[in-house]
Every structure is written in C-alpha cells, then in structure tokens.
Amino acid sequence: MVDLRRNQVRGSPAQAVMVVGGGISGMRAALDLADAGLKVYLVEQTPCLGGRVAQLGFMFPQHDCVLCRGTPDHGYGCTRPSISPAYLEHNQHPNIEVLTNTRIIDIEGQAGDFTVSLRQEPRYVDPERCISCGLCARVCPVELPDSYQQGMTRRKAIYKVAARAVPDAYVIDRGPYCDECGQCVEVCPTNAIDLHEPARLRHVEAGAIILALGFQVYDPTELEELGYGRFPNVLHAMQYERLASRSGPTEGVVIRPSDGQRPRSIAWLQCIGSRDQKNGYCSSICCMYATKEAMLAKQRLAGQVDCTIFIMDERAFNKEYSRYFATARERYGIRYVRCRVSGIHEDPATHDLILHYAEPDGTRHEERFEAVVLATGLQPPESARHLADLLEIELNEYGFCQTDKFTPLQTSRPGVFVCGAFSSPKEIAETIIDASGAAAEVMRLLNDQLNAHPYSREWPFVIAADGLPPERDVSGEAPRVGVFACTCGKTISEALDLRGLLQDVARWPDVEAAELLDFACLPEGLTELKEAIQKHNLNRVVVAGCSNRTHDALFQRTVRQVGLNPYLLEMVNLREQCSQVHRQHSAQANRKARELVRMAIGRVRAAQPVHKDKHPCLPVALVIGGGVAGMTAALAIADSGYRVHLVERSDALGGNLLNLYYVAEGYNPQRLLRDLVNRVRAHTHITVFTRTEVTRHWGHVGHFHALLRTSHPSGLVEETEIEHGVTIVATGARETHEHPLLELPGVITQRELEERIIHQPETVTGLQDVVMIQCVRPPGMPDYCSRVCCTNTIKNALRLKLFNPACRVIVLYKNIVTYGFREEYYTEARKRGILFLRYTDAEPPQVLSQDGRLLVRVRDLALDRTLDLPADLVTMSMSVAPSEGTAALARMLRVPLSSEGFFEEAQMKLRPMDFMREGIFLAGMAHYPKFLEESISHALAAAARALTLLSQGALHLGGIVAQVDPSKCVGCLTCTRTCPFAIPQVIQQEGRTGVGGLGGAAYIDPAQCQGCGTCTGECPASAIQLVNYTDEQVMLRSIGGLGRWLPTPQEVAR
C-alpha cells in the first residue's frame, strides 16, 4: 500500500519553522518569522541564547555598547522597541518556542514537511521558577573556570551563564565534579531545582529549517611559535574582548594576566588562523575588531599605552569603516605595521614579549611588548560537520556551508536555509541581513502559513491574538492605588524592611492596599495580585520588586487580564537598583526604597490609560529601483502573495547587472538577469513601471501614497498615484567615470575592461603590459573602500592571464580587500604571476603619456625607488558612488544619508535593512557597494521586514507618542527642527488653530512618532506632552519625589 499521507500533509496543519542556533542570526530570523505569523522553534545547544555576540562589549565602528544597542549579554535582542522588546524575559513572542540545551538527533522528510527529532538535555533548574537570587551558587561547593569569561574567573557548578542570560535562570553543569550534594536544592526558595530531571526527546514537524550555527574562534594553541598557552601575556581576541568589557572579569580594565598590571604596550597580530596555508580564507572581521580593541585599550588605559597592529592589508570594506581606521591612526595614535609576525619570544624575567619583524622596506626590528593579542580568525562551528551529515547538506572545503552565488541563503538541500557566519566569516551587520533574508526565503516557501498564528501588538507586550477581557473604564474614578512589594524569596527582603515600608505606604494618599508578596512573578504571586486588585477594586497598581525591564510585560499583562489598562501599572526597581547595590547601607537603602515607592505612587496617580490606534496595512509594496536588489525584493514579496509596484527609472530592468558578464566564482550573471526579468515580467502580482520616477511620497507605515511620473518614448508624460503599505528603496549605485586620466587613450575603467574582454576579446588578447590602478576616485569624492573593486580587478587580471599567459599584469593597490573566500582569487592571481605593488596616498601612481605610449610611474616601497612601468593598457578601479538622485530621493522620503552619500539605515549593525522611518526599507547598493550575492541577501532581508508588516491584518501604531495641544502652539517650528526623525510638521487643518488664531499648528503623526520626547523638552510653549511621560508624571515635585506626604511615626510621637 502506498502511504499517501506524506504527500497530503503540505498545507493542512499550520506548519512551523525550525531555526537552529540561538545566536544573533538565529534570534533575528526567528523574530522575523514570528512577526510574519509563523510558528518558530528556536533550538540552541547551550543553556542560553546569545551566541558569540553575547561575549562582546562593544561593536565597531560606532562603539555602541552591546548592552544598550543589542544583544544578549543581558537579555535578548536590542532594547530599542523596534528591534526586539519581544524578546525580553516574560515578553517572549507568542509564536516562538525557545528550546535551549537542545540538539538535533535526526531528521526526515523534505522541504515543506520535515520531521525533526530533538534531544533536550536537562537543565536541572526550572527557568519558570528560578528567580536568579543566586543562593544556590553561594552554597555550591564546586568551583570551575568560567567559560563565559574565557576562563579568567571561576564559577560554581550551578551557575548563570551571564548576568542577564536568557532564559534568565541558573543551570547545573553536571560534569563528574558535581557529586549531587543537594545543597542547592535545600536553599532554593522556589523549589526550582530537580536533580533528577530527565533528558527529553521531542519530534517536531517543520516546513523549513534555518541553520544559524555561527562560528567558533580559531584556537591558536597549535601555532606553537606564538606561545599561546605558554606565555601568560599572549591573549586571544575573545579573552581581550572580555577584559575590555564592562561586564568582564575586571569590569573593563585591561590588565595583563602575568601580574595584573596595566600593560604599557600592546601588540595585535593579525590573520591568526586566516590567510595562511591551512585556512586560505580571510576572516573578514579581524582588521576591524583589532582596531576597535586597540581604541578600547587607549580609552581604558587613559592613553597610557602604545598600541601597534601588525597587519597585512587594512580591510575596512563597509560603511564608515575607512573613516574608522583614519580615526584610529590620527586621533588615537594607533600604529599599523605592514608585516606578518612569525614568532613571539618571552623574556622569562618580566613575561614581556619580544617580537622580531621586518618593515616593508626590509629593515629588521626587535621590539618588546607587555602584552600581545592574537587576532584569531573564524572557523566553522564545531557542530557543523555532524549536523551537515545528519541534514545531508554540503560543506565547502573549509567546512563552512556551501551556497550558490545567486541563492546565497540556500543550502544544497531544498527547504534548508543558512544565515550568518556558518556560510562564510562575516560581521554582525551581514549576519543580521542574512538572517532576515533567510526568513524571507522561508516565508516564500511557506507562503500559505503567513499570519497562520496571528498575534497582537495592541499592548506593550506581545500576545497571541485571542482575547483578553474588556477593559474597565476608570476615567471617572478617583485613584485607588494598590502597592505590592515582592520579597523575591529573601533577595529583596533581607536587605530592605519591606513590612515597615508597607506600613508607611498604607497611610499615603490614595493607597487602598499595601501587601507583601513572596514571589510576585510566579503563578501563585500573580494570582494573589489579581485577587487583590479585584477585592479592593483598585484602579492603579504599583509593584515594587525587580526591574521593569525584565518584568514590566509580565505585570502589565497581569493587570490587563483583570481589566486594567497596562499603563495604570508602575514598577519600582527595588532589586536591581536598590537592595542589590547598597548592601552596606541598610538605613539609607530603606530610605531610598521609600522614596522610589513614593515616586511610583505619584506617577501612577497621574497615569491615564493609553491606547494604540489600529490601522490596516495595505497589502501592497512599492519597490524603487529595478536592479537585482529591487527585482529580488519584489519577487520575494510577490511570491509570498502580496502585490508589488516596481518602479525603474531607465527603460529596462537590470541595473548594474546589465553590465556584469562574469564573476570571479565563474557563474553567469546574465543567466540570473534573464531569470529575474522573466519572472518579474510574468508575475501576476508585480506591476512594472519603467521610465518612471517617484516624484512624491507621503503617508505612514501601512498606508503610504506615491506619485509616479512615467515618461513614455513618445514624449507623453503620465502621472499615476499609488497607495501602498511599505516602501523598499533599491536604487543602487554606479561606477564613477569622472577622472581626467580617463581621457587619455589606453586608460579605461575596470568595467570597460570587462566589456572588452567579453565583447571585443581581440583587443585584449594581444596585450603585453597591463597596469591596473586600484582605489581611484573622482576629485572631491569622499575616501572610502568600494568593496568590490579588488575582486573584480583580480577577476579581470586572471582572465587576461588566461588569454595570454605572457601578458605582464601589475596591480597597484593600497589594500587588497578580498575578504572571505575571495582570498582564494588573490592567492590564485599571485600564483599565476600577477604582480601586486602597494602604493600609498602620499605617493600615488602617475600616468604619463610618452611617445604615444603609456607609462605608469610608481614608488616601489620594497625597493624604495621609483619605477616606470610601460603599459599598453591602464585600467582604473573607480569608486562606486550612490546613484544619481539619491540625495533628492532621501529628501522626499525624509531619510538620512551617510557621510559617503549612501542611504543611512536605522542602526548600522542591528538594523541594516531598516530606516528609522517605519515601513521604509533599504536593499542593495543603495546602502553601500556590494557583491551580487550580498545585494540578493540584502534585498531578501528588506523583503522579510516588509512582509512582517504586510502579513499583519492590522498595525497598532501610536501609544507612547508626543501630542500637541494646538491651542498652545505658536508655530515656532522648534519641534520640526529638534525632532531627530523629522516627524513634526506645522500644518493647516480645520479645527487646528494655534495661539491667537494662528493659521496652523504643529502636528505629530502618531503613526510615525518614536516617542523619545525630545520635542516636549524643547517646546518653548509647553504645547507638547509625551503620553505616559507628561510633566505631571515626570516632574519630581508633582510626583512627590523628594518631598514627604506624611510625618514619620517618630515625628508624630514627638
């Protein structure tokens, strides 16, 4: 009998997606999928989410602290609302099930219908009941090196991976050293520990799988000549990251391990475990992170340290990175030496390290450093090989996931996708792009499942869409405040006298109930809370316990469950910001606790219900730009079931792809072009407007308007107004052509050479001497790395060598930027006899025309003399600049530009495809020069972000936003100038008159306002108030912050 069931499963039950790896890419992919209404299993093999990024203190190039900008040192995802409040503890997305300590043990089925078997190792501590009080770790007798701190400190066998790990709970490391003494079980106040917890097996149905396995840091022990492991002051990069992190073992003070002293000189050695005989690839991030680490050393040690980086090429190939290197060199005085150091010696008396190295001109040096950091490269994750065998996916020769250039996020097995460093070494921004891009691939595959699991963002917490009871109208009621203090076991009550506090509180104005709870956050505590609210008919609630950042969502949801608006709740952070940080000052801590509670009561008395506005999201996208990025994004959205207007300025789709004939990897881009154009043209959901420009764009997320102007060949100009829910900007970039040397015969751009190679090979096969000059930019253009030119130059140079092996090809360069696996082509080029000569900005090459022949004069740094290179042909790699009209489009969309003139994203590392203006996304070279596969990933990422909005029936906008009282507005435009997001506008509207019958008044669109409150602070007429942070809720006197409402009992007695 044939088993038909397998074939029928597709489409019937709501299908889930499995994301393997809980690092930054796995979390991002899971969030996007959950937001699009798919059910997600997020599988992580360690006890907590976060991955490698959790161990970093700061991110280059903006030195955003990972604490506030992103990631999971302390929680889950960025705390900026638009990145992921959904991930803070107790506010997990209802569509995501996190499975920590879990591995895949088997998989069967096919795309759309996988069955995955999982094994979840016991944690021994129930994360639902653990309150992170730390009593267990205090009594645990077993001490072990702390791997989170890279072994530089010690932890107990029962431990929390990081201070703010997610899940926010302890875990037992049950190695042979744990003898089950059971002391932790005895002290645990919530009975969260079960030493007999078994491992669990689970079988999960998933329609698609995303592999976000990340990477592992190269272990330099095998390079014995560097002395890692033998010389205490030789550190690897991750150890240094912990040392320089504020949450590290030294709280951010950089010390050297041998004596704990602050080093006065540190050397970084680049390319450890990369660009060598064994690992032939470039790890892509080390140049940048070493520069960051050196800057941190300068900052942390107040400049009392000399930093030297031994580097081969400065690979600063992303936005603002060139400037970052310049800052390091000029402002911080960091020294770069072009050299690969081959060995380290130690002075045994001082443990100083002695480096022998040669400058580019051959002079030899011996130099002493007090510490050395090895800029270790990236390797495929340990689990990759095993998992690849299990999933039957191909790995490349280095063990990274094999992908195709035109489908960079697909593995060799249909339905299994890849993102992040598992497919090639890459930094955070690229990883995030990949993650959202992979989510788009899944949305396309499982398009019938979009919004299958609806959820609601109507409240500050995310919940499944099915109901809450109707909200109670408290508008006519006088405040009835209930104050609930949580002992948190003894975590808070052993430091603070909560009973005394509540006695006082009970006598304060409007307080109707003051109760002590043992564990407010556990189910029994929440029940008590709800009962008390109902019993006392409370309409305002204060919970004094732990941080609102971790528990706001939980208590807001709880009060909402008994009919109160979530904004009628106020939390007092007695745990993180009082009892835990003032242990030596009991009396003062108690006084502070009273003041904090009084302020909270003051705030909550003034609190008003807050509601968001419900807006439909039009199921239509506008994509501006018909190049590879625009077409890819349009197809991803259209394939997922939504309509797309694709607008292209020229008369043909294709953009730069029209002029790209072959790529270093050997694929045929023209095949991709044909494929994309055919699919776009034939797609019933896509309307293509060629010869069309967007001339106006207005509205807000969910409901934009745009005016399109089409210039027909006949001269007829047609205007069309469209309405759409989201906009994707994919306007691309162009190779510049403005340079006086290009007027010389025999001097062409690199792209022109490519055209000749393809269309007029006869003009290049006979060439004897070709000089290729890198990094040429038109006069007056900012200096930045155009990212793609080195690889293109090498690609063309290799082709010339293939035509004519006798042809002498010389590449004049500043830095060869063949990052990732592109390093192979650089190696190949040198093997084939292509010569590479480095030049500096101080002495750029000159192109001369002598007796009808070209001559390139360049300073050879190794020989220290000037060479005259004869040339039949000179090619110049011209800068890649933003497309014409980029600045005008930016003004129209009211989005900013970067210093290089490209569009500026919302946040460089964590939101590289978003704009700060919601509902507008960025794809491809409009962001920065990119390779084809990078543009494709970026376009998919933008599509995924757009789909998270399009798939929602309704958007909830507004809430905590600024509101203008028109009758107070004098129309001074201060708000329009100070708003960082350019949202306020002074408009004329019926019923909206300013002071003295002024014709117009400021208007702040609640659908766009980000709620920062800058305008409220600046408005000279106090006409603007920020909801939930009004003057009467913030000003200290109004909320009784430092005053006293009632005399203390002692004073009464007197």
């Binding site: 506030c68 302390h74 949450s247 952070n573 745990r575 835990q580 940080v581 242990r583 430092l1042």
Partner: protein, 67 residues
C-alpha cells in the same frame, strides 16, 4: 544637623541604555552610594532645563542625566 541630612542625587536614565546599565550593575552586585535615585525616562531628549531646575527646586543636591 546638616551633616546628617543625606544627599539627594537624581539620575535621569534613558530606559534603553543607562537604565539597562544600572540593571546590569544590580545583576553583578556592583555597589554604589544609595543617595543616587534613578528616574527612568524614554530618552534623554525628554529631559529639558526645566526638569533639571524643578529637581533642584524639589530639593535635589545633584542631577545626572545619562543616556
């Protein structure tokens, strides 16, 4: 009497960064003087001169904005 009156220091902390940092300090049990009272704000942009002056008027001895 004056020397027994404890100081009142108000710290306006942006909820996205400085406030989160104060939470992390709590998680790591880093000790600091109890005179500091943290007021959470949505963004340091919300704080204007008046908010600072009002704090002094209400009896603060020092005001810190962090974000």
């Amino acid at each position: 009497m004056t020397n027994s009156t404890p100081l009142n220091l108000i710290a306006y902390c942006c909820e996205h960064c400085a406030y989160a940092a104060a939470d992390l300090a709590g998680g790591l049990r880093l000790q600091y003087p109890p005179e500091v009272k943290i007021v959470q704000i949505p963004c340091t942009g919300r704080i204007d001169v008046l908010a600072v002056l009002h704090a002094f008027e209400a009896g603060a001895d020092g005001v810190l904005t962090a974000g």
